[in-house]
């Protein structure tokens, strides 16, 4: 690997981590779309900042542009508060308006400078190593690495200090407010950090990928864990993995780095969506199938329990009586036998003691719907798992 290659991957990884952290809280607050709005509406802020500073990596530009991000949030909330439109409509109204102001500003004034719409939308990670930080003649590495590194340390520090506050204000704003942890302060704090991160990242990865980096890793992690800390950690892992894998994909395909990174993010999400152990599509389908089988089993056992007459419990009769197809009837009968719940003597089906006990408890659960009666049965049977 050449040193620009390493530098590009480092920048991509740092951007990914910096985006994943606010992304987790945006997802949990159901505000994923806000990151899209911020990433577009900061454009006029960036252009204005660029006219003043003539440097895309200047801290002043970052602050000016981030301010536009926060203004976006305020505008969206103000429109929403009128009660005339819903939040998604308000977002859809605000960010294209601000973005288009930025587009006009570029077209009118910035034709001769390095700032064009393509770069804004998609970014160009490949050029990042060219813009270097030189301190008294010494090459300190790419400017954008320093910039994103600073933003990352800042947001990690805030996350560490205010983890508890972020958690409670995200989960239960009412309680948070009553406890004296102002949800409004936390909300605007998160919005400010998100805006600063988006502005810092957008030069490297563009306005569209930055949204993907914020939302996709967090959404993927959400499918895998029910612990907030682990969700943060997993999002960071997914973000960094996609950043680096995306870089190499672009390298071999000779394609856009940011495009490849987004593609990897999408593929990773798809894989987890399909194969996640608990919330994944396949496991949900499997569980549903299991549940159908178990409901059938209980129906069958209940029938045996309700009828002492032999003719009601003859194998052939059961076949017609419960009105199941042969295969299904056989599966259920086998399942009951395998679990020692029934005995078959001369083609007559009997409930065993275990079968009777199980039926009794299942019945009790269905009638009373009391969880404590089936706590110990949950491991055996999918049906009772929440």
């Amino acid at each position: 690997m050449t040193s620009p290659q390493i530098e590009i991957q480092m920048i991509a990884a740092v951007v990914a981590v910096a985006c994943a952290i606010p992304g987790v809280f945006l997802i949990l607050r159901k505000m994923a779309l806000i990151s899209d709005a911020i990433s577009h509406s900061i454009l006029p802020g960036i252009v204005a900042g660029f006219f003043i500073t003539q440097d895309l990596n200047s801290p002043l530009l970052i602050l000016l542009a981030a301010l536009t991000g926060v203004i976006t949030v305020i505008l969206v909330e103000a429109i929403q508060k009128t009660g005339l439109v819903k939040e998604d409509t308000a977002i859809g109204l605000v960010f294209p308006a601000l973005f288009s102001i930025g587009v006009i500003m570029i077209a009118k004034n910035a034709n001769d400078v390095h700032l064009d719409i393509d770069a804004v939308l998609l970014g160009e990670l490949a050029f990042a190593p060219f813009d270097r930080l030189i301190l008294s003649g010494l090459d300190m590495g790419p400017k954008s690495l320093w910039l994103m590194g600073t933003i990352l340390i800042l947001s990690l520090g805030l996350l560490f200090l205010f983890f508890k506050e972020l958690k409670v204000s995200t989960f239960d704003a009412g309680l948070s407010s009553a406890l004296g942890i102002s949800p409004i302060v936390m909300h605007y704090g998160l919005m400010s950090v998100s805006s600063v991160t988006v502005v810092g990242a957008f030069d490297a990865v563009g306005a569209i990928l930055v949204v993907a980096l914020m939302i996709a890793p967090a959404a993927t992690a959400y499918l895998l864990t029910s612990d907030l800390k682990r969700m943060l950690l997993l999002s960071i892992v997914f973000g960094v993995f996609s950043a680096i894998a995306g870089y190499w994909l672009a390298h071999f395909l000779d394609a856009s780095i940011s495009g490849s990174m987004t593609t990897v993010l999408g593929v990773v999400f798809l894989m987890v969506y399909l194969f996640a152990p608990r919330k994944g599509l396949l496991s949900v389908l499997y569980r549903q199938k299991q549940q159908r089988t178990e409901v059938s089993l209980i129906t069958f056992l209940l029938h045996l329990n309700n009828h002492s007459e032999e003719e009601e419990r003859h194998i052939n009769h059961l076949n017609e009586h419960i009105n199941w197809q042969k295969i299904r009837a056989k599966t259920i009968l086998d399942l009951a036998q395998k679990n020692n719940m029934v005995l078959i003597k001369d083609e007559i089906v009997f409930l065993t003691e275990k079968g009777k006990d199980f039926t009794q408890r299942a019945l009790e659960y269905i009638m009373t719907n009391k969880d404590d009666r089936i706590e110990h049965m949950k491991d055996d049977f999918f049906l009772f798992r929440g």
Binding site: G174, S176, L179, D371, G386
Partner: protein, 245 residues
């Protein structure tokens, strides 16, 4: 009647978009009562609690907790919001939710430690949820979720408890468990203010009641004021319908 008021509300008016939802409320809650707030949907019951707790800013009036503004008395007050007001798919466990009750006394930045964890376990035990402490909250039944919320309020170790429909969507067993805990708290000298929907259980559960429908209709001991006259004033012509719900 004692003359010390746990909660005192004066001339409170709250409006959403200039439409008043609470109008000129005067209310004094004596210390040590278990009080129900009843009234039809949209009567402003939740809003009343939220404005006492400073979650909603009133456009007029004032609130005092033991004679001082709420933000000076936060540590004396515990709050159980409506169960439906939070997202139960949030990635966290029962004990973690209960620990949130300690965040107020911890203050900013400081993390909960062993002491807070112990308090949370005790509270979970009190509501019969110790066995579920590490369960993800979306895996709890509605009644269990309500118990976790109650445990979170217990852990605040407050003098006054505000609860927004703690019996909503719970089965009979949980309802009895909850009301027993509330009665125990009252015995221990705590004051409880509970938004309540089931009019039939008011005389059995509560000793104090406030009728509310945008304006305050009446407040006082259940034995004296829980009567047809006040119910009709509060629920209007729909009073019978409300009873049948």
């Amino acid at each position: 009647m004692k003359n010390k008021f746990a909660v005192q509300v004066d001339d409170l008016t709250v409006a959403y978009n200039y439409k008043p939802v609470l109008w000129d409320i005067d209310l004094a809650v004596p210390e040590g009562v278990l009080m129900a707030i009843v009234g039809p949907n949209g009567a402003g019951k939740s809003t009343l609690i939220k404005s006492v707790l400073g979650i909603i800013k009133p456009i007029a009036g004032s609130v005092a907790i033991y004679g001082k503004p709420y933000n000076k008395q936060r540590k004396l007050v515990a709050y159980v919001p409506q169960k439906g007001s939070v997202d139960w798919d949030f990635p966290t466990t029962a004990i973690d939710v209960v620990m949130m009750g300690t965040y107020g006394s911890l203050g900013w930045i400081k993390r909960p430690g062993l002491k807070e964890k112990k308090a949370a376990l005790e509270a979970l035990e009190k509501v019969g949820m110790l066995a579920f402490k590490n369960r993800q909250i979306s895996q709890l039944s509605g009644g269990q979720q309500q118990r976790v919320f109650l445990a979170r309020a217990l852990v605040q170790n407050a003098s006054i408890y505000f609860m927004d429909e703690p019996f909503q969507g719970v089965d009979a067993t949980t309802e009895i468990a909850i009301i027993n805990i509330l009665k125990e708290l009252r015995k221990a000298g705590k004051t409880l203010v509970v938004v309540h929907h089931d009019l039939q259980t008011v005389p059995e559960y509560f000793d104090w009641v406030t009728f509310l429908n945008v304006k305050k209709i009446a407040t006082g001991p259940v034995k004296e004021i829980f009567n047809d006259d006040n119910l009709t004033k509060t629920y209007g012509i729909n009073y019978k319908v409300a009873i049948n719900k």
